[in-house]
């Protein structure tokens, strides 16, 4: 079999396949931004199991499907029920309340995505080869963050956006173009905030280990465990409600509700629980920023300190 460097001539001598094989490269060389984007794209493909055997696609696609299913169901209900705008208004949730249906999917997806982004590079020691390219530790981490946050947008922006469009087509969404576009902006704002927060937290745990399973378990433990502990403190022991801001599986959704200018989640048994005073917006925003920055700092500190050659 011929390969590069072999010239193949047709029997009558008129045609020739010319394959020069390996040769010096004199074409364009793109800069660091191209490298960042190339790594981010490659990482996103890895997270979703693309260009890998089918078994690597099961969990990420299942998590994404779970996130979209409620939206599809609601749109189907609205489409099938006659006179749905009158009969179903108040029953079908808007995009702002949609996250309550897909909390588990978002948390699970985040716990799976980030370890896939960081752990294999450390475990296979590919990080050393990456850092021998124009990337340095900071741009490497930027690529990974772009990939994780970008992939998370699939489940934080896509489903509520789908619901919004589906409801609007059935005359159940915001009335008027301005209101509709305002809600679209809220969807992107809330989805982006959720992706940033969950991306930061879920990258921090894998930065501490090179084992994907440990990293996923650790992320889930951190997110769910913080919720359980803060709930016990506030609801069980009557502690101050602001402690709930330390619940990682609650805080991002509190921020999303504020972006949609909706009332926050209940914080205690007073006033019949549902009507209990929510966390203040200042506490929610401050805690969200602090959580994201601390998680990002941990990740950056770990990646910067990783030895790749000695």
């Amino acid at each position: 079999m011929t390969g590069p460097g072999d010239d193949v001539v047709a029997a009558d001598g008129r045609a020739q396949i010319f394959e020069p094989g390996y040769r010096p490269y004199h074409g364009i060389r793109l800069g660091v931004s191209h490298s960042v984007w190339a790594l981010a794209r490659h990482t996103a493909e890895r997270i979703m199991g693309l260009k890998r055997p089918a078994r690597y696609k099961v969990l990420p696609f299942a998590a994404v499907a779970i996130a979209y299913l409620p939206a599809i169901a609601f749109i189907g209900i609205v489409a099938l029920v006659p006179d749905s705008p009158r009969r179903l208004s108040g029953f079908i949730p808007g995009p702002g309340h949609y996250y309550a249906f897909i909390t588990a999917a978002i948390i699970l997806f985040a716990a799976l995505a980030a370890p896939e982004a960081l752990c294999p590079d450390k475990r296979s020691r590919l990080l050393g080869i990456y850092l021998s390219s124009p990337l340095n530790r900071s741009t490497y981490l930027l690529s990974k963050a772009i990939a994780v946050v970008g992939v998370l947008l699939l489940v934080t922006v896509g489903p509520p956006l789908l619901l919004l469009v589906g409801l609007a087509l059935q005359n159940l969404g915001p009335q008027g173009f301005g209101a509709f576009m305002g809600t679209v902006a809220q969807v992107f704002g809330a989805g982006g905030a959720l992706s940033l927060m969950f991306g930061a937290v879920s990258l921090a745990i894998p930065s501490l280990t090179d084992r994907r399973a440990f990293a996923s378990a650790g992320s889930l433990l951190l997110m769910l465990g913080s919720g359980a502990i803060t709930s016990v403190i506030v609801f069980g022991l009557g502690g101050p409600k602001d402690v709930l801001a330390l619940s990682i599986n609650r805080l991002p959704f509190e921020l999303a509700l504020r972006i949609f200018t909706l009332r926050g989640l209940p914080t205690g048994p007073q006033n019949g629980f549902v009507n209990s005073a929510p966390l203040s917006t200042g506490v929610v925003v401050g805690a969200s920023v602090a959580l994201t920055l601390v998680a990002a700092a941990v990740t950056w500190w770990r990646v910067v300190g990783t030895e790749v050659t000695r």
């Binding site: 460097g5 010096p24 190339a38 294999p120 050393g128 021998s132 124009p134």
Partner: protein, 308 residues
């Protein structure tokens, strides 16, 4: 590439201690025992670490400050197995070509070309984890050359290879350095490997550069004249001739009953030896100039046993 008084300490380990060197074009061997500081030096060249003191320049720039620009002109194959096992070789090489700035289309075609060049054309779509050690080493070499770097850094490129695979890999390195025109630095603890492919060498010992230069220059350090004599009237001639030459101020020593080694400090040594041979009536079996092997250079420079 130059280094001036480069020092690097890891916790309590002094990896490099005042290393000073100059590396020019061609294939250069970076020779030293395990723990001599070779991999640390490669890390400094790549700009992955900053020296604790001293300066190092690559292409006239500080690799720590101008890391992206320097590394865009470098290719690197690390010592350890650093490739994702579940990805096809072609995808790995293409991805790394893109990281080095090649547009996607060019990266795709050059990945195939690079893998054909290292002899993996037929296997290029196999996952790396299904390949043998030798094939994975070739994939590492392919990803290092795919973007046509000016300088190639190979850290223990024959690590884990059997003799036949080693020979193939060394042939590839020669091909890359000579035919493809890339400058290559081969880091190794194997003397014969460095001697085989390198035109120049930097020898590290306990973090210090104990010798550096072209193989021709280094082998001409302390050249010797070897004289083999026939027995003279049943008497071993070499010790007597050695004494004669020593009285004449030469550095000479008997290496057995009929073999003599004389240090070639100056051209006049030839005349002195000729005269002593003629005056003593010695019968010469062999007279040759001997230059130092790399092992001799290492022994003389490092003062300890050579690497393997």
């Amino acid at each position: 590439m130059t280094g001036l008084d480069v020092t690097k300490v890891w916790s309590t380990t002094q990896a490099l201690s005042g290393a000073t060197f100059a590396i020019g074009g061609g294939v250069t061997g970076l020779l030293g025992a395990n723990g001599a500081g070779k991999t640390t030096l490669l890390g400094l060249i790549l700009g992955l670490h900053r020296p604790d003191s001293g300066t190092i320049t690559v292409f006239g720039q500080d690799p720590w400050l101008a890391g992206a620009e320097v590394r865009s002109r470098l290719g690197y194959a690390p010592e350890h197995d650093a490739l994702p096992p579940d990805v096809a070789a072609h995808d790995v090489v293409r991805h790394l070509a893109e990281l080095h700035g090649l547009p996607r289309r060019e990266a795709t075609s050059r990945a195939s070309d690079a893998l054909w060049e290292v002899g993996l054309g037929e296997e290029r779509f196999r996952p790396v984890g299904t390949m043998s050690t030798g094939q994975r080493q070739r994939v590492k070499l392919a990803q290092a050359i795919v973007h046509d770097p000016e300088l190639l850094l190979l850290d223990e490129p024959t690590n884990g290879l059997d003799p036949s695979q080693r020979e193939d890999m060394l042939g590839l390195i020669e091909h890359v350095g000579v035919d493809l025109g890339m400058h290559v630095i081969v880091s190794s603890h194997l003397l014969d490997e460095v001697e085989r492919v390198s035109a120049s060498v930097v020898i590290l010992e306990s973090g210090r550069v104990v010798a550096d230069g072209s193989m021709a220059e280094l082998s001409n350090i302390d050249p010797e004249l070897v004289v083999e004599l026939d027995r003279l009237n049943e008497v071993d001639p070499a010790p007597a001739l050695a004494s004669t030459l020593q009285r004449a101020g030469l550095v000479a020593a008997a290496d057995g009953p009929r073999r003599l080694v004389v240090a070639l400090g100056a051209p006049s040594v030839y005349d002195a030896v000729r005269n002593a041979l003629a005056d003593g009536g010695y019968s010469i079996r062999k007279l040759e100039r001997r230059t130092a092997s790399l092992e001799d250079v290492y022994l003389a420079s490092a003062g300890t046993g050579p690497p393997e």
